[in-house]
Symmetry: C2
Subunit: 216 residues, 2 copies
DNA sequence: TCGTCGTGTAATGTATACAAAATACAGTGG
DNA sequence: CCACTGTATTTTGTATACATTACACGACGA
């Protein structure tokens, strides 16, 4: 086993990301370094390092002399991100070996059945959604593309706190994923890309419906 | 005028990026913080902050306990990045207003003529290449897409030091850009996307030819 | 001779201290 | 009463000091 003794700044970064994704911080809120550092039980140094790393990743904003602030949620951002992501994942499918996709398609079908299972925590659900897409992309040979996709997805993760346990929502996700998987299993890449685009467009749409208050 | 008193870490970040792009640092090289900090005339704090920011941007690597190192150049990376970039820029064209593209196309034609001018420093040339593409994307309404594109381009910038003043190279670039511009001016988006893909594929190909030693 | 262990040195990671900026606020003048 | 200015306080940005980890090197034993 590879033991990675993670630095404090890595742990702090994870904790901040976690708070952003569980909605325990107000988007757009100003960050007080001393306060947050005390809260996390570390000095300002690793905290600032974590904040700067997140800024580089586009997850946090800073203004010189004025410190850091969480990025506000914006309907525009979400709407803009969807076509980017579906295009990139579509490219990933195009670059993948067709036989690999057929094989993976079958596995993805089994996974999408899990989505229809009894009610689960939405955190778990998002995690499954993640691993589903990751599994779909696992046969794509273009590593750089996967990195870019991961970055874009990270940006969208900021919105996941808006999702609640909505039965209908869960059902639709299961349907959509099943549709994609079926296309892949049949080797119909074009159909899968189309279904993928629908999946992302629908996903953002549902988020927007839930999140009226988070106007742009 | 908006005066932005840039923090030290921002200046340091710029300087490091500059060194990476002018080839004055060895790719893959380990970074000695105290040495580099002394060289830049700052303390380790803003230097480390700049390094961490660059790490978040994917421009340098770090291993906990082992510090920072410049990323090695890799032929694979370059090859993988080309389709990502051309796909994204193609998407940008798809999302742009067709009339805007026609107008911009004419302006881009004029700009591509400049590429054919008398020999210029390759730094200047890259700068022009940049502003050419940026101008092409200026009518794309999807701001997030532009951010993602900028990130990918930033990664490719690490390779620009490999380019030398090669007449043939310059000529081909001028041709390719002119081809794209012509398509846009005629409102032929599909043709432009095709030419774009050729441009990026060709660009990376030329880099690879020049840079045999930088094997993966 | 090779491998292992232990020590010393140099590097990174974190905490604290200091400096400089931005904000809040009270006082003054109109 | 409002606007402005100067000062106090808070907060960020940078430097330095300390702790801890990784690395190099040499001694010891097999």
């Amino acid at each position: 086993m590879v033991i990675k003794r993670s630095a404090l700044r890595a742990q702090v970064r994870e904790e901040i990301l976690h708070r952003m994704r569980t909605g325990s911080v107000k988007p757009g809120e100003q960050i007080n370094e001393v306060q947050l550092a005390a809260e996390l039980g570390v000095s300002r140094t690793p905290l600032r390092e974590a904040l700067i790393a997140l800024e580089g990743e586009g997850q946090i904003a800073s203004e010189s002399g004025r410190g850091f602030r969480f990025l506000p949620l914006s309907a525009t951002e979400l709407v803009e991100l969807a076509p980017v992501l579906s295009t990139l994942e579509g490219l990933a499918l195009d670059l993948s070996d067709i036989d690999d996709l057929r094989r993976i398609g079958a596995e993805l079908q089994a996974m999408s059945d899990d989505f229809a299972e009894e009610t689960v925590q939405h955190a778990i659900l998002n995690q499954r959604d993640d691993s589903w897409h990751r599994h779909m992309l696992s046969v794509c040979p273009n590593q750089r593309l996967l990195v870019v996709i991961e970055n874009v997805r990270a940006t969208m993760h900021r919105y996941e706190a808006l999702l609640v346990n909505d039965e209908q929502l869960i059902a639709r996700r299961a349907e959509e994923h099943a549709a994609i998987a079926t296309c892949l299993a049949e080797g119909d890449v074009e159909g899968a890309k189309e279904a993928l685009a629908k999946n992302w467009a629908g996903g953002t749409q549902r988020l927007l419906e839930v999140a009226e208050p988070a106007a742009d």
